[in-house]
């Protein structure tokens, strides 16, 4: 029984069957990669997990609780954080404020009226946020307005925002797309480190095979809305079907 159980999930958009009978079981404290051609339904699947979309059929349970019908913020409070395919950050706020918000969400829940307290007094949270920024190498940019950063930086910030929440399950939708190779490697290292230090389960979508094969314990290949195979990285690498539908020839890992 995995921490995340997806059973028979299906989702249609008008005439398009984006997901059909998806079954997926993610084991606790593993990294589970989801790969597949463009438009296979990977992001759609994540959307069903975090409450952005409600599947037409099937069930999704996280640590024994069903997430279906829950609001996105309730699902997050269960311990699921998500990094989006196009960076979703608080563009008008500074980097540090971007970090503080998840800290508050983690500590105080979905709503708390802390209208008179001052920000400076929250030293615990500030330390935590700064440590995390340090980890992703963005501490110098703490006072920058988030929207004026380059895209790679936005990505890193979003990952940091999710990690600082110490989620039980971290969903990453192409976290390193557009990141310089150096930072990609750094992100891989960071994720590995976090995984060692903490109990964390990661589900990751990536087209960068270097990332996938460095991190994943198991891989599910999704094609046209249904899982094609699920296996260990080594087996996937050699699978001819996967090679044809997805990896292609010139793939360099």
């Amino acid at each position: 029984m995995g921490i995340l159980e997806v059973k028979g999930v299906g989702k249609r958009f008008g005439g398009l069957q984006a997901l059909g009978n998806v079954n997926l079981s993610v084991q606790e404290n593993t990294v589970h990669a989801i790969i597949g051609p463009n438009g296979a339904g990977k992001s759609t699947l994540l959307n069903c997990l975090v409450g952005k979309l409600i599947p037409d059929e099937g069930s999704v349970t996280f640590a024994g609780t069903s997430v279906l019908g829950k609001k996105p913020h309730e699902i997050n409070q269960l311990g699921i954080s998500r990094v989006f395919q196009t960076p979703e950050i608080f563009g008008d706020l500074t980097v540090m404020e971007n970090m503080m918000i998840p800290c508050f969400a983690k500590r105080d829940g979905a709503f708390r009226m802390h209208a008179i307290e001052s920000m400076e007094a929250e030293t615990d949270l500030i330390t935590k946020a700064e440590a995390m920024l340090e980890d992703v190498g963005m501490l110098e940019k703490r006072e920058m307005i988030a929207s004026s950063m380059s895209r790679g930086d936005k990505r890193r910030l979003e990952i940091a925002m999710c990690l600082v929440q110490e989620p039980k399950l971290l969903l990453l939708d192409e976290p390193t797309a557009g990141m310089a190779r150096a930072d990609t490697n750094n992100t891989i290292a960071l994720l590995k480190e976090i995984k060692e230090k903490r109990d964390i389960t990661i589900a990751i979508i990536e087209h960068d095979m270097h990332v996938v094969f460095s991190l994943a314990d198991r891989i599910t290949v999704l094609a046209q809305g249904t899982p094609l195979v699920e296996d260990t990285p080594d087996m996937i690498k050699g699978n001819p079907k996967v090679k044809e539908a997805y990896l292609g020839e010139t793939q360099q890992v």
Partner: protein
Amino acid sequence: MLGLNPKDTKFLLIVVFLTLFTPILLQPFAAGSELAQFNGGYPDLMQKIAIFGIFAVGFNILFGLTGYLSFGHAAFLGIGSYAAVWMFKLLTMNVIPGILLAMVVSGLFAAAIGYVSLRRSGIYFSILTLAFAQMCYKMAYSVLTPLTNGETGLQLTLNDPRILDGTQEGSSLPVTNIFGLAMNSSYKIEALGRIFTFNTGFYFCAVIAILAFYVAIRLFRSPFGMMLRAVKSNQQRMTYTGLDPKPYTLAAFVISGMYAGLAGGLLAAMDPLAGADRMLWTASGEVVIMTILGGAGTLMGPVLGAGVIKYLENIFSKINEGVLHDWFSFLPDGLEDVVIWVFARFTGEGWHLTLGVTFMLVVTFLPGGLIEGLRRLASRLRNGSQKRDKYDNPDPEHRPDPGKRVAGE
């Protein structure tokens, strides 16, 4: 101090100073001089500036922070006024219960209207609030006349019960007071050829305005304030971070509704008549405009905007051709007529023109409002007018640092 950082403390002290010395600051011209017309140091105007300042500061908590543009805030102002006047009619002329009731009632209305309207965002939200406010206005104007006295406005009468005040002597209307100190009592000093009026009502409003301002500063700097800015910036991210934006925005809506109610209550306390026009859409528009004119999202901007608009309304509308003749009588006849003709278009019955032109100029040339203008002026004064020559003097300092290089290099 007071839970504020040194910069904010200094800021608050300046505000306190400006507020308490308003009667002097707004009376710069000697009585009887040609420019005395521009003096604004009389109780009604000073009260209005303080009160509309409160209104705008409260509005800004919603609009400036969350970006939700309510076009119906005047409803809460009006409701506050009605509540306060009813308190004066039924219970006592002491303003404290009236003002408290005003805040409570408008808070309740704000909770109800906000709960419904906040189910939509953007322009749809604006129109929902507008629709609610217009409904309040139309009903106050017609169907609810027994409660509101329609177009004339709710007034005190001699035979109101006023339970706590006991029997009234005499047959003239009682005045609003705070524990016996009448709101309309003033103390006048003549000095430096000017008459300074220190009015109880104004100081009452001023103290409340300072308190309201202080609360607003705390709120802006608090985690709650940050959450509100997050709502404005990216609601989607907020929900996926485990926060529910609804209660945050609703809280902001109710708080700003209560500010509006407080302002409405104070209006009634200064002049116990509550007119339905206070709830008309133009009144809602006025507070929007005060806020943008001064600078939305800034602390001081809305107050400044409120001051400018009320000042224009009260001072410019009263400059008639007679006054203009006095001013320009030194000019040769033909020229005098021309000059007066031009000025007359902008003053007296033309005061709206001044208002319109001011709006256009400010928003076109000072994006960010008057506060932004002042800020630019200040930095211009501080740095001198150094023209940045981008090519000859490329300044690497302006360039944000590249990211720290990390492992894997």
